[in-house]
Symmetry: C2
Subunit: 434 residues, 2 copies
Amino acid sequence: MFKAAKRFYSSIEIPKNKLKYIPTSGTYPKGFKVGCYASGVKKNGAPDLALIYSAESCNAAGVFTTNKFKAAPVIVDKEILELKQNKDFHSIVINSGCANAVTGRGGLEDAKDIINYVDKTLTGETFPISKTLTMSTGVIGQRLNVEKIKAGIDNIVHELGSDHEHWLNCAKGIMTTDTFPKLISRSFTHNGVTYSISGLVKGAGMICPNMATLLGLIITDAPIEAKTLNTMLKQSVDKSFNCISVDGDMSTNDTILALSNGQSGGDVITEQSGEIYEIFEKQFKEIAIQLAQLVVRDGEGATKFITINVKNAKNDEEAKKAANSISNSALVKTAMFGKDANWGRILCAIGYANVDVDTTKTNVSFIPADDSEELKLLVNGEPQPVDEERASEILEFEDLQIEVDLGVPGDGKCQFWTCDLSHDYVTINGDYRS
Amino acid sequence: MFKAAKRFYSSIEIPKNKLKYIPTSGTYPKGFKVGCYASGVKKNGAPDLALIYSAESCNAAGVFTTNKFKAAPVIVDKEILELKQNKDFHSIVINSGCANAVTGRGGLEDAKDIINYVDKTLTGETFPISKTLTMSTGVIGQRLNVEKIKAGIDNIVHELGSDHEHWLNCAKGIMTTDTFPKLISRSFTHNGVTYSISGLVKGAGMICPNMATLLGLIITDAPIEAKTLNTMLKQSVDKSFNCISVDGDMSTNDTILALSNGQSGGDVITEQSGEIYEIFEKQFKEIAIQLAQLVVRDGEGATKFITINVKNAKNDEEAKKAANSISNSALVKTAMFGKDANWGRILCAIGYANVDVDTTKTNVSFIPADDSEELKLLVNGEPQPVDEERASEILEFEDLQIEVDLGVPGDGKCQFWTCDLSHDYVTINGDYRS
């Protein structure tokens, strides 16, 4: 009855309206080889294994889900990043199709087995502590087929390369219900040194602040000091992946990893490096924000891309709580899907967000995507007579900006991104495993 | 394209599978007259005004939304209940179709205007503090059409009565997107005195713990002391209306009111009354639970009725948090709609509920609705090989029970009720106002 496109493990054609988000070329960090392979974990034969490799030793950093049922790869990565103080890594292996989550002791063994196997395959030896990090995404509660993945690793090392197609394939290899591969790259030159950063991400469902079944990778050839990379990643995630929501579920597997191998040349970058630190940190954060936005663009069943700006909150944290509450409201999301300017639901979601709000000074407006005049919905707590025709015009656009002023002393603000809740979301998630 | 039944203000036919929840007779509290009227606030001509009246003075109690944008009737009721210390009321007027929420100062004036008008119409006079409580439900941010409602009040007083049809009509008058009227009644005799209690509720969307666009009424002829009625209502709501979830949104208007007029005869019931207090309190709480369950049965688009039992939590509060998190997970709800035993999503929702959980001692099972053997999904944190055919059988039933053992020292437990998330939910809420 419901003809919504089914999103089973990236086997479907890429929707025409998403093609514009897929780059046709890029400049990628030096010294990395990447690729993907179809190991057979995904039953439909789509790519389900990706590898990122640098012969030169990398610094690495990770930000992980706070879900108490952490998947095996999350537990393993956290442990080895700490043991090695973010230094001396050479690769990341990612499998899609099976999350290796809630798989008990066996699942932990599987994850360790795989990273050691990658080390062995890449260098001919294993190490006391592995130089490989790992990520998994897919169904929870099923054991990995380690034999298939090992056979895949044997093959993927012959598929690695450093050109655009290889990076795009790598982005394809990490997809689950994503409809398009998400890849971003940029380069900039400072004092004669050219630095490159690339980002890959998969998302689609279970997307919630504090991350999601969201696997993200930020890869750079800049010589970032290990501790600095760690801090930079955490701060960037806080303003990007932690400011998006698709459905409010926070997964067992959420992970963002960063690698830097220093192959750009130039001095080591630390927080004390002045101008280059500032420039690099800005570029890095922008990549994180762009990746997070792509996840929302491809939210399961999403037809709308909604930016929520909250200001005049008690503090930034409360601004984020308000934005999050609006973003996760099923009623707001279905209204947006229905192109219905039912702003009462926005107010309602603010009202139960458990934040300070002055109900006599609250303002809510829609900012249209075509830069035409804003539509004031609530001014100082008083509802405005809404021109429904104008509201409909604004809601016809894919993009919408919602401005919320909580009217509270304090300078708290937050920018947040979310999508609507559609029939397709229900179809996709009603039989994900089928 | 989507043929889901639209639920616009109870104009549709009652679905056949819901007819069993509508009583065909009842025993109602003595001394109350009730009824409904179509005042024209609902454009489709469905009943949109209800009145409950007792010539004998009533004690009254209320439990209200904690949303910061409280609707005008909520603010007014809270104020007068406090001023009058829960005593000396004679009626409750309810309108559906317009929530009188986020309507500024004008909305407060409207609510007061209406309750004074009810007093005047019923008794020929107004009072320094009104003897009428009020409730509104419907679209947020629009002013009430007070003239239509006043004309409705002029008419409704001639429609009042005390038989089953009148009570059922009253339940119809408070519906919004509900598909069937929700009415319950029961009587019991103790020491020669017959006590009657009846309950009415409307729900459907915006249903979340700590209530919802949920208007509930519990009416009794027992002589309950005012303070005791207040405590009894709060405690009952905590185990009923605060233990259900449809979509996680908490509305601006949620209200449960209770009235007792003492017309049963017998001694005044207080917390010190011993046996009769125990018996009455149990009956009262059961009514509240039955009403709350009816709301879940009629959750917008719901096809499943799911009972969640959480045990071995740190305390009752944490058990409720875990149950709530499972209930509000869009991924759990869509899996249930899809009859998919994707228990990993249940685990995932527990994992981000921010409660103590021993991941090595967690157990999750499905209890089938036909009393056949339970299906163990997770035992001591280890996933069980699941017989998918058996799981499908269990998920074919409308009713399902999910047992969760958090494996933590402490005796915390909670029973919670929720429904699935279906295409109909999206359809209903995508153009609610149209």
